[in-house]
Point group: none
Chain length 203, copies 4
DNA sequence: AATGAATGAGTATTCATTCAT
DNA sequence: GATGAATGAATACTCATTCAT
């Protein structure tokens, strides 16, 4: 990567970082492109050199942020497996879910920003390649985990979709609106529900 | 209700109906108050006599539409119970869910409009009273159904919350984006998952 | 016309007048809607209440201005006819043409603004009714003049179209660019040409 | 011409060709320098190496296109003269006019692009030399034709100016707006009018 | 209760042009 | 000769909201 290319990456990153800050503090619709550009220290037109429009940068951010959560969850799982190699799949998935939920609960602004769109980071390829340095292929990693045990599945992709949707939607109201109850109160139900869903997909 | 009062209700209804049509065809952000007023045949200023702003009318619409779904589901359940009085709770809930999902699948524009906010129609009281003629108290009815059987629950409200979030989030992507699979393909998994979740909440 | 209606007409007129001044001094594309609104003493949004966009107000102006020329030419002809009632058609048309050309030569900015679009004021009905107070129907008047004599025509409307195009295009370069010669030098040729064209259309 | 020089000419030509395509399909004001550069396969900055700005390239195009029409008309006339050497001037001019009109009627986009500016190709020297390979001096050729006969003229240049303006303005509306009548219907009047104008300039 | 004229802040977006490489 | 990243001024247009009638 030449010096010019480095500089481009740097500006692009600055736009992503600053826009995320503005989106989560002022709100998406109250953040103008002008705001973003000036916070990032570039001219307004420069924004349009790097991103098509506001939705474009939002999509990159969702991808980036949700992939971050998913990658960190995998890392946490790997550690847990080292100390306890014989974990059943359900418990592996619970560990993943717990990692994600814990991170989200620490960052309500992120929850609000993702707005039940966690799945976008998992499924929508379009926004992943360019913005991320990670070489981890998230989908592949999750497939590995699910299929590393002796269990057979009715449809493993559908199970993952279901669980991610389940987590991101139930947790959203609880973290953002603190309704209908506290997260800690909800967690046991949530984890039991996840275990139950996993069992539905087992043959 | 005097003639004047009737006229007011009529205008209010016209605003609600026409705004829903515009929201679902042009999209919410591409629909202006001006559009709504002119379609409803009233002056722009009149809109503000009936509703605070755009979000206000949206909330009334979500309440109206989702309550409609929930009420219809109860009706369908009542019919089913008449022919089969000994239905277990799980199956009652499946009948409710099936009614809601079937209605949603027939009306993708409604799904898009509700945008995973089905719960709003269930929980947010504020927008219910004025806009609806129904005298059915939805929450009460659901409580009755769940507790009409011998089963005891760890937390019946939380169960309902969980199931409604679960349905509205998983079904949203499937109906709107037709991803990751077809609704008919997903239904068996969905119903099995609901049954599993119900069991989680049983003592 | 109520007071409110009068006020509206006044604002509309102010927008037309001020925009014409700006268009002819700064040029059309260098005049912004903002400029027009502020000169007319109204808010930017108010411009859009009266006119669709810049082209809309331009069309009204062209109609207004070119109709003005055509109406004045008729008036001049009427005077000439009073002193000399037996004028042949050719000479009547020359008097009309002379009136138009004389007015144009006194106002090069108008020539530039009309930009060979004199015909628009004659043919395009859409922009005439609202902006003009005149009750003179220009087209009808011209038809009367042409058919007031014993002559028969192959196609009187086509003749008029031809002559107006002829005048507005040849005179444009001469007045705006002062090329290829002076207007006074060109006039005899122009008038002879008009007479010749008139003869072409006589049966 | 060295290889580098050839390459330059090639790029210049590409810019001219591609900009003409864009101007006539998207319209002049909806075509940006960026569009032109990318279609021509060069960088944005390169455009400015070859042309001053948008108007500059437009002028070259008008010159190129209208000179093309005028040159082709001369060729057609030469052929006609071979079979019929005793043609009177009027008819020679009609042959030229017919050639130009026929070409224009086949290419309404060109008519729209030239926008009554046919004369630019005839008179404005500035844009002729560089862009054209033709060694034909159009003005000279036309002078030759007009003076090849026994006739004497009051002012031959003015006649030519008048006729070209006359053709380009009347034909413009007819081809672009299809108003006030069809070209074929108009042609006899047009040709008769041209003959009449020619006679006006004869001594 | 209803109107609709008026507001003017606000925003996205474009684009010609420059200049360091 | 060529590039394309960067600029930032410029502009059209929208729209929620108000308020005198």
């Amino acid at each position: 990567m030449g010096k010019a290319e480095e500089n481009k990456q740097h500006k692009r990153n600055s736009l992503l970082t600053q826009s995320y800050n503005l989106f989560t503090t002022k709100g998406i619709s109250d953040t103008s492109i002008s705001d973003i550009a000036s916070k990032a220290g570039v001219a307004k037109g420069t924004f349009y050199f790097y991103f098509k429009d506001k939705q474009d940068i939002i999509n990159y951010l969702i991808a980036r942020k949700s992939e971050g959560l998913l990658v960190k969850a995998i890392d946490n799982l790997k550690v847990a497996v080292q100390t306890n190699p014989e974990l059943p799949v359900e418990e592996k998935i619970i560990i993943l879910a717990d990692s994600i939920i814990t991170d989200l609960s620490k960052d309500p602004k992120l929850v609000k920003f993702l707005n039940r769109n966690l799945n976008l980071g998992f499924y929508v390829k379009a926004y992943m390649d360019e913005s991320l340095i990670t070489t981890v292929n998230v989908q592949e990693e999750y497939a590995k985990i699910i299929n590393s045990c002796g269990d057979k599945w009715r449809d493993d992709k559908l199970m993952l979709y279901t669980i991610i949707e389940f987590i991101s939607s139930t947790v959203h109201s609880i973290i953002v609106d603190k309704l209908p109850c506290d997260l800690n109160e909800y967690k046991p139900y949530l984890f039991d529900s996840i275990r139950a869903i996993v069992n539905v997909y087992k043959i």
